[in-house]
C-alpha cells in the first residue's frame, strides 16, 4: 500500500474528531530548527464543511480491537485497514509543515493489540519528531484510555495538548454503546494530566527552565445525539470537567450516522443545531461568567431550538433588565443578549470619554437586533417603548418561509398535506442499569 492510499484511509478515519485548534502554546525553537507555535493558533485551510484545517489530523492506524457502536473504525465494520510507520508520519508532518500547509500534527489512533502498545507507539512518533528532528510545531496527541500513567507522562513532556475523549456523556450510555470501555480509564488519566499540569506550573514558578508539560492544556470531546442524554446532562458534565480538571475545551460533535446498529438512533441529518446551542452555552460558561445551572435546569433540560441560551436566560430574568449602557458594570453588560466580549470592551472603553447614545453604539458596530430590548442609553430605549417578554420572543423568532403560496390561475395546484414528524419511540437503554457514580466525577 502506498503513502497516498494510507493517507486517504487514515485521514478519512480521523475526520470525526472535532478538535483542530492549535492555540495555547508558545513553543519556540532555537534558530536553525523548524517550527514555532502561535499563542492564538493559526488556521491553514478550511474544508468544504467549513471546519478549519489547522493540524494534520490522522490516525496512526484504524485497526481496532474494540467494537463501539458509534465508531467508524469498530472491528465489526468491513473497512480497509492501514497503519503508518513512524518514519511515514514524521516525514509527512515535516514535509507538510515546511510548505505551511499545517500548524502541526494531531495524532490519534485506534487501539491495536492493547492500549499500552498503542500509546507507546504514539509516544515514540512524537518523541522522534521532537528529539531527532528538532520539530517545534504544535502537536496534539490523543491519550489512549487505559494506558499506563508513565506513558501519559512521557506523552505530556513532548506534546502541546493531550486529550482523552469522553465520547458519551454518561456512564449509562458508555456501557450501552461502548461496553469495552471503562469510565475509570477515561477519568483517571484526565485527573493525572490535570495534577501534573498544576505541579509543573508550581515548579516553573520557582525554576524557569523546567521543561513544559502539556502547555496548551487538555481537552475532551463528546458525541451529541448518539445516546438519550439530554442537554442538561451534557452541560453539567462539561461544567464539572472545566471545574475539576481545568479543561481548556470540551468539544461537542453532532452524531453522524456512520454505522447500522439497533442501539443507535435513526436520523437523517446530524443534530447540528443542538451542537450549536451547546457550543453557545459552552462559550457563555467560559467567557461570559454564566453557570451551568443558570442556563438549564430540571424543568428545562433541553435548549430551545429557536432562541440562543442567552436570550432565554434574559427572558427568564426580567428583573435584571433594562441595563443602562452608561452605568452597568462590565460583567453585567456581558449578560445582555446580542453583546459579545469585543462589543462590551469597546463600550466600556468609549464610555470613559463620553456618555454614549444609540448612535454611538451603531457607530461602534454594536448590533442592536437583540440588544435593543434589553438596554437603555441615557435612560431611553431604542425604538421600542416597554418590551414585554412575549413581544421580544415574537420579534426574535427566526423567520420561516411561509408554507402558503400564491395559486396559479393556469396550473393545477399540487395539493400537499402537511407532514407531521413522528419520532420513533426508541428504547435506548436496558431498564435495569443502575448508575454507580463514583466520587471522582459524580455528574458522569
Amino acid at each position: 500500500m502506498n503513502l497516498m492510499d494510507k493517507l486517504t484511509i487514515l485521514a478519512d478515519a480521523a475526520k470525526y474528531d472535532v478538535s483542530c485548534s492549535s492555540s495555547g502554546s508558545t513553543r519556540q525553537g532555537a534558530k536553525g530548527t523548524l517550527g514555532s507555535a502561535a499563542k492564538a493558533g493559526i488556521c491553514h485551510s478550511f474544508s468544504a464543511d467549513g471546519r478549519c484545517i489547522s493540524l494534520l489530523k490522522i490516525l496512526m492506524t484504524n485497526n481496532c480491537i474494540y467494537d463501539c457502536a458509534y465508531c467508524l473504525n469498530r472491528r465489526s465494520n468491513d473497512k480497509p485497514r492501514a497503519m503508518f510507520t513512524v518514519e511515514e508520519i514524521v516525514n509527512l508532518t515535516m514535509d507538510f509543515y515546511r510548505r505551511n500547509y499545517i500548524e502541526g500534527l494531531f495524532l490519534s489512533s485506534a487501539i491495536v493489540s492493547s492500549p499500552n502498545y498503542t500509546m507507546e507507539l504514539l509516544v515514540q512518533i512524537v518523541e522522534n519528531l521532537r528529539y531527532q528532528k528538532q520539530f517545534h510545531g504544535y502537536i496534539h496527541l490523543k491519550g489512549i484510555p487505559g494506558a499506563d500513567p508513565r506513558l501519559i507522562q512521557r506523552a505530556g513532556q513532548v506534546a502541546d495538548r493531550l486529550s482523552i475523549n469522553m465520547e458519551l456523556p454518561s456512564e449509562k450510555s458508555l456501557t450501552f454503546l461502548a461496553p469495552e470501555k471503562q469510565k475509570q480509564h477515561i477519568l483517571l488519566p484526565m485527573q493525572q494530566i490535570h495534577q501534573e499540569i498544576v505541579q509543573h506550573r508550581e515548579t516553573r514558578a520557582l525554576a524557569r527552565k523546567t521543561p513544559t508539560f502539556v502547555p496548551a492544556g487538555q481537552t475532551t470531546q463528546m458525541i451529541v445525539g448518539a445516546s438519550a442524554d439530554n442537554d442538561l446532562q451534557i452541560l453539567r458534565l462539561s461544567a464539572a470537567l472545566y471545574q475539576k480538571f481545568s479543561m481548556k475545551r470540551v468539544y461537542f460533535s453532532a452524531y453522524v450516522p456512520v454505522n447500522q446498529d439497533s442501539r443507535l438512533p435513526q436520523i437523517a441529518q446530524p443534530p447540528m443545531l443542538r451542537e450549536n446551542r451547546l457550543y453557545q452555552a459552552d462559550w457563555l460558561m467560559r467567557f461570559y461568567g454564566f453557570q451551568a445551572q443558570e442556563l438549564l435546569d430540571e424543568s428545562n433540560p433541553n435548549f430551545d431550538p429557536d432562541f440562543d441560551p442567552k436570550v432565554i436566560w434574559a427572558i427568564r430574568h426580567p428583573e435584571q433588565f433594562p441595563m443602562e449602557i452608561n452605568a452597568a458594570p462590565y460583567k453585567q453588560l456581558l449578560r445582555v443578549p446580542g453583546l459579545g466580549v469585543r462589543c462590551v470592551q469597546r463600550i466600556v472603553s468609549a464610555r470613559k470619554t463620553a456618555r454614549l447614545d444609540f448612535d454611538d453604539l451603531l457607530r461602534m458596530h454594536v448590533s442592536l437586533k437583540r440588544a435593543q430590548y434589553f438596554i437603555t442609553c441615557k435612560g431611553k430605549y431604542y425604538r421600542v417603548k416597554d418590551p414585554q417578554p412575549d413581544l421580544i420572543l415574537r420579534a426574535l423568532k427566526p423567520k420561516v418561509r411561509s408554507p402558503y403560496q400564491q395559486l396559479s390561475f393556469f396550473e393545477e395546484p399540487a395539493v400537499q398535506t402537511p407532514q407531521v414528524e413522528v419520532l420513533p419511540d426508541q428504547a435506548f437503554f436496558p431498564k435495569a442499569s443502575a448508575n454507580t457514580a463514583t466520587d471522582l466525577l459524580p455528574v458522569f
Binding site: 497516498m4 480521523a14 525553537g29 530548527t33 517550527g35 464543511d49 489530523k57 514535509d95 505551511n100 470619554t353
Partner: protein
C-alpha cells in the same frame, strides 16, 4: 490646496506628516506613483528626510504611545484610498486630545483607524495560514501571494522564526517585490513574474498531491457548508492555494 507626494517609504510618509502637520491648506497625502492630478489641488513633492521621520517616531512614542505608532504603521501598510490622510488626521487628533483619545471608540476618526488596522491584522492572520510554499530545490522554498494590504513586512518576523532552517522566497505578486531569506537574514528585493517563472522551471512538488487528497478526505460530506467555508477562506486567496485548485492546474 496642496497634495503632498512622498516616495512610498514609511520614512517618506512620516516626513510628509512632519511638513503637513500645520498646513491648513492640505488636500491629501499620497505616493508619487499613485498620484492622479486633479482640479483642486497642486502637487507638492516631499523628499525623504530620515531625521524628520525619526523626530516623529520619538515624539509619538514618548508623548503619545507606541500603540499609536503601531497604528500609523498599519495604516500605511493598509494601502487603502486616503489612508495616509487619515493617518494625518489621527496624528493631529492624538496630539490635540492626548493618547487617551484612543479609548473613544465612537469617535469617527478613531473608528476608521481601528477598522483599518483590524482589516490589516485580520489579513495578516489569514496570510500566516494561507501562504503556500513549494520546494524548488532541496530545502529551498518559494511562495507566491497577492494580499489586499502590504503584508510582507509584517509576515517577515513570523516566517523567520518559524522556518529558520529553510531558504525562502516569498513573492508579493500585487506589489512586485519579494522577501528573500538565506538562513541568516532576509532582504526585500524587486521581483517580477518572469523571475518567478524562471525559478519554477521543471520543478514538481509531490506533496501538493498528498495535501490535496488530505484536504478532500477530511471533509465530512454530511455537513457540507460552502457558505461557511467561503466566509473563512475568501475565494480571492484560493488561486494561490493548491488544495483548492483542480488537479491538472499548476501551482502559481
Amino acid at each position: 490646496m496642496r497634495t503632498y507626494l512622498y516616495d512610498g517609504s514609511f520614512d517618506g510618509l512620516l516626513t510628509a506628516y512632519f511638513y503637513a502637520y500645520k498646513d491648513k491648506d492640505i488636500y491629501d497625502i499620497c505616493r508619487q506613483t499613485h498620484y492622479q492630478p486633479d482640479l483642486l489641488s497642486k502637487p507638492h513633492d516631499i523628499s525623504t528626510e530620515e531625521d524628520k521621520a525619526q523626530r516623529i517616531v520619538t515624539s509619538v512614542q514618548q508623548t503619545l504611545s507606541s500603540q499609536t505608532m503601531r497604528n500609523l504603521y498599519l495604516l500605511y501598510l493598509s494601502e487603502l484610498p486616503r489612508c495616509d490622510f487619515l493617518g494625518l488626521q489621527y496624528l493631529r487628533l492624538c496630539y490635540q486630545q492626548g493618547a487617551a483619545v484612543n479609548l473613544a471608540k465612537h469617535h469617527p476618526i478613531i473608528r476608521q483607524v481601528d477598522d483599518t488596522c483590524r482589516k490589516v491584522k485580520l489579513e495578516l492572520d489569514h496570510m500566516k495560514g494561507f501562504l503556500r510554499f513549494q520546494e524548488i530545490e532541496p530545502l529551498v522554498f518559494y511562495a507566491c501571494f497577492a494580499p489586499d494590504h502590504n503584508q510582507l513586512p509584517l509576515l517577515q518576523p513570523h516566517l523567520e522564526r518559524r522556518f529558520s532552517d529553510q531558504k525562502m522566497i516569498v513573492f508579493d505578486e500585487k506589489r512586485q517585490y519579494a522577501l528573500v531569506y538565506n538562513l541568516h537574514h532576509s532582504i526585500m528585493i524587486p521581483f517580477t513574474q518572469e523571475d518567478a517563472q524562471h525559478l519554477l522551471q521543471n520543478c514538481h512538488d509531490n506533496c501538493i498531491e498528498l495535501f490535496r487528497r488530505y484536504f478532500h478526505t477530511i471533509t465530512i460530506s454530511q455537513r457540507s457548508n460552502a457558505k461557511l467555508q467561503a466566509g473563512y477562506m475568501p475565494h480571492r486567496y484560493r488561486k494561490y492555494m493548491p488544495e483548492t485548485q483542480p488537479e491538472d492546474k499548476q501551482p502559481l
